[in-house]
């Protein structure tokens, strides 16, 4: 079946002159890398083949009839209009097929649902428009945003996405998990409903604000697995991918150690040049602000204020700083940023995006005492 489909696809693509250069297409569900995802794949193939078989019988009968029982061939119409036996038969047979399907489906459903006896737990929080991962067994906690290269290209009319590796499916910090370990996920959201899906793991689960959903996985082989948010969550719904890297246990342990050390590091508050501040500030902006205020700082008419010429952004920096840390009813507070990031972000916003305040803010100026912690 798969071969036939590949062939069929290849023929269409060739006919359209698209060539085989982009042979990286898939036609079928992927088997994935967990037991559950393989079970789901088997269910999918089973029901697909059942449908194909029914289709062959029904459409075969229909087209036989269309070919032979036509007026132009002089076929005279029979006048029968019911047959109780036949009608009972074609009610019972599908019922039996369905019962046959329901049994394996129920088994897989129960397996999918069983989050008991997990080895570790990761909390996944959906946010507009990135994922927030918290390892509940150690203190690892980080955000996972769309990578900068994709971020710039997808926001620019006419930019070429073919130049970006894993366009829209790459993140700055992937989720790292050990293989052959039962990992329980608890999923929630901080704003609207999102849905966490990595096809290779075999499932997706909604992240609902105010509620917690559970799911689990145990990955068989090391690798990088990519997915996306699958519940419409606003304008950047298409731009919050998921990347999971599964590692052998020793590699994972090393990663945990390194990440914990990095988390403990204090931000570097040494002075930077204006150019450095602006360049770093752009990265902070692309992660935290661009979703609403847009790539050129123009905002969205009637919904999101522009930063270009904004009185708050270009006024006294102390009040801009206070505004960012406090947030408003419409804008989340950004007290999660450290002093270094505040200096970079504010210098960028005040001297780019069509603004030209002309000042340079250094990390030491903007850092609060507890930012060093």
């Amino acid at each position: 079946m798969n071969k036939a489909k590949q062939l069929f696809a290849g023929l269409i693509l060739m006919a359209l002159g698209l060539g085989t250069a982009q042979a990286d297409y898939t036609l079928n569900l992927m088997k994935g890398v967990t037991k559950v995802s393989n079970d789901i794949y088997d269910l999918h193939m089973l029901i697909l083949w059942i449908c194909v078989a029914i289709g062959v019988v029904v459409f075969g009968t229909m087209f036989y009839s269309i070919y032979h029982h036509r007026k132009s061939k002089g076929h005279k119409a029979a006048q029968f209009h019911e047959n109780t036996t036949v009608e009972i038969v074609w009610t019972i047979i599908p019922t039996l097929i369905l019962i046959g399907m329901a049994i394996p489906a129920t088994k897989t459903m129960l397996e999918l649902n069983d989050v008991q006896a997990s080895d570790m737990t990761i909390q996944v929080t959906g946010r507009q428009w990135y994922w927030d991962y918290k390892y509940l067994n150690n203190d690892i906690h980080f955000e996972s945003h769309l990578d900068e290269a994709s971020e710039k290209v997808h926001r620019t009319v006419g930019a070429n996405p073919h130049t970006v590796p894993h366009y829209l499916l790459n993140v700055d910090k992937p989720l790292v998990i050990p293989v052959n370990t039962k990992i329980r996920f608890v999923l929630t959201s901080a704003d609207v409903i999102h849905s966490w899906w990595v096809p290779d793991l075999g499932w997706k689960k909604d992240a609902n604000p105010g509620f917690i959903n559970e799911a689990w996985t145990s990955v068989d082989k090391p690798g990088t697995y990519r997915g996306q948010c699958t519940e419409l969550c606003g304008r950047d719904h298409g731009f919050m991918p998921i990347v999971v890297i599964a590692m052998e246990q020793p590699d994972y342990d090393a990663w945990v150690k390194k990440t914990l050390e990095q988390q403990k590091q204090k931000p570097d508050l040494s002075d930077q040049t204006r150019e450095q501040l602006i360049a770093h500030g752009e990265s902070v902006y692309l992660k935290n602000c661009v979703g609403c205020h847009q790539i050129k700082g123009g905002g969205v008419p009637g919904l999101i204020p522009a930063l270009t010429g904004s009185a708050i952004a270009t006024g006294k920096w102390e009040s801009f700083d206070g505004f960012l840390r406090a947030g408003t009813s419409k804008m989340p507070k950004f007290d999660k940023l450290n002093g270094k990031e505040f200096a970079e972000l504010m210098t960028y916003v005040r001297n780019d995006l069509g603004n030209n305040v002309g000042d340079v803010l250094q990390p030491k100026q903007t850092a609060l005492p507890d930012d060093d912690e």
Binding site: L16, M30, H69, R70, A77, W90, T230, G302
Partner: protein, 547 residues
């Protein structure tokens, strides 16, 4: 007053002359004639089909290649939202109400609909509702862009949906009232105005399916109106039906919505079954196979539609008992739906078939609807749905059940009855050209979307990873050809109204059609007033009995 009216009517009855329609534009505004109102509904639906279609073209143009080309993501989301709302509430549903208006009185031997003034009102309320919705396109903050399902909290979020939100809610109220009035009218007509000798089980299947659909409408439109009203109070009066911070639950909305939403999708397909069951026997020159089982299958599907709603929500986080129940209940739908497909096949079996345009569209409907049914069966398997849910596989599925099913059957109905209504024959060559272009392009458009979904492309995204590029481009090409082909249908409708091929059509129009249903015993074109005295002979077992 009533006495005066009665006297007035008697006076006319004595004179034995028809009063024709009012003159000029006013005819269409004040009309209470079921044929005029049917025409209004059908033309309005056709116009909305092109409006919604234009939005689909915007979507397919943006998705033609990866990257940002034409529209902003928020506008893209507005397009997917409005495309769905316009097609569902502006095109498909009104088109079937239009068919019901034209055909039900003709098929059951009634002089008009039971409640003609309400009939007029429900049409104009539909127009008001759709205009209210369309007005949001011209607002600074744009049309609704949280999906046609209006899921909270997204739809309530000030940075997502701007000023359009209350407009969309009031539009839903108006459309709901319009649909409910239409449904009441259809039920009242079918129950009270049948020719005296026509028993329920003598009614053509189109009448049966509409009767059942009308009950679905009355049952679920208020539920939808209630759900969106709760959104309104959550947003403007600080209630917390769907806000966890205030003790509510965003998933509750989904349960209420899909309690409406699932019967709603059957509202768009049951009348389709009725039309197919009307057209296929005529061109197979055989009575419909299994008339009684068709009626029962329709009723079963309608009943099941009320108890399967959460299969739209398998990944929302339900208890395992809920997941399993909704999986089993959904699988059962395949049984009565299968019966229908088998019955249509058996109707064709050993017939004496000819393949005029209405028959071609009907056969394509049976085949392609069944394909949509197969993917529906696949999605009913809950664990598999954890992969399919909210991907292009779903988009392919419901478009197969709506475009080459509902829309194709509406086309078939147009070709089938236009000669009766206008007295002119459409151009068969152009009709067949329209069919072949449509049936090929609709598959080029939607079949690759199965592959996209299985390969991992989520729905409702304005841009996508490179590996989805080829199939998206093919799908878009299919979309543009399909969209352009529909202009042929517009041409044919206008051409037929204005005289068509010029050939005089007989009363029966199609060979022996009068055996199957009453409208073919009337003159062509159908006079402005029909069945002022009810017919004596009615079809039984779907063949006109020569008493």
């Amino acid at each position: 007053m009533s006495a005066v009216v009665a006297e007035h009517d008697d006076h006319h009855a004595d004179e034995h002359h028809d009063h024709g329609p009012a003159k000029g534009l006013l005819r269409w505004i004040i009309t209470t004639n079921h044929k005029d109102i049917g025409t209004l509904y059908l033309l309005f639906a056709l116009a909305m089909f092109f409006v919604g279609g234009a939005m689909a073209m915007v979507i397919r143009a943006e998705l033609f290649e990866p990257g940002l080309q034409f529209v902003d993501p928020a506008f893209f989301n507005s397009m997917t939202t409005m495309h769905a709302l316009v097609m569902v509430f502006g095109a498909v549903m009104p088109a079937f109400v239009g068919l019901a208006n034209w055909q039900i009185p003709l098929m059951i031997g009634a002089a008009d609909m039971a409640l003609p003034r309400m009939n007029n009102m429900s049409f104009w309320m539909l127009v008001a509702g759709v205009l209210l919705l369309a007005s949001t396109l011209f607002m600074e903050t744009g049309a609704p862009n949280a999906g046609w399902t209006f899921y909270p909290p997204l739809v309530l979020q000030p940075i997502t949906v701007g000023k359009a939100m209350p407009f969309a809610v009031f539009s839903v109220h108006l459309l709901g009232i319009s649909s409910i009035m239409g449904a009441i009218n259809i039920i009242a007509t079918i129950f009270n105005m049948r020719a005296p000798s026509m028993k329920m089980m003598d009614m053509p299947l189109f009448v049966w399916t509409w009767l059942i659909t009308a009950f679905l409408l009355i049952a679920v439109m208020p539920v939808f109106a209630g759900a969106v009203t709760m959104l309104l109070t959550d947003k403007f009066f600080h209630t917390s039906f769907f806000n966890a911070a205030g003790g509510g639950d965003p998933v509750l909305y989904q349960h209420i919505f899909w309690f409406f939403g699932h019967p709603e999708v059957y509202i768009m397909i049951l009348p389709t079954f009725g039309v197919a069951s009307t057209i296929i026997p005529v061109f197979a020159r055989k009575p419909l196979f299994g008339y009684a089982s068709m009626v029962w299958a329709t009723a079963s599907i309608a009943f099941l539609s009320f108890i399967v709603w959460a299969h739209h929500m398998f990944t929302v986080g339900m208890p395992i008992a809920g997941e399993l129940y909704f999986m089993y209940a959904t699988m059962i739908i395949a049984v009565p739906t299968g019966v229908k497909v088998f019955n249509w096949t058996a109707t064709m079996w050993k017939g004496s078939m000819t393949f005029e345009t209405p028959m071609l569209f009907s056969i394509a409907f049976v085949v392609l609807f069944t394909m949509g049914g197969f993917t529906g069966l696949m999605m009913s398997i809950a664990p598999s749905d954890f992969q399919y849910h909210d991907t292009y596989f779903i988009v392919a599925h419901f478009h197969y059940t709506l475009v080459p099913a509902s829309v194709f059957i509406l086309m078939a109905a147009g070709y089938f009855w236009l000669p009766k209504w206008t007295g002119h024959m459409y151009n068969e060559k152009i009709g067949q050209l329209h069919f072949w272009l449509s049936v090929i392009s609709v598959n080029v458009l939607f079949f690759p979307q199965h592959f996209l979904g299985l390969a991992g492309m989520p729905r409702r995204i304005p841009d996508y990873a490179i590996q989805f590029a080829d199939w998206n481009m093919i799908s878009s090409i299919g979309g543009f050809i399909f969209g352009a082909s529909q202009l042929l249908f517009l041409y044919i409708v206008i051409d037929t109204i204005r005289g068509g091929t010029g050939e005089k059509v007989s009363d029966e129009v199609w060979e022996d059609a009068a055996k199957h249903s009453l409208e073919w015993t009337l003159p062509s074109p159908v006079p402005y007033h029909t069945w002022t005295t009810p017919p004596i002979c009615v079809p039984t077992e779907h063949v006109l009995d020569s008493h």
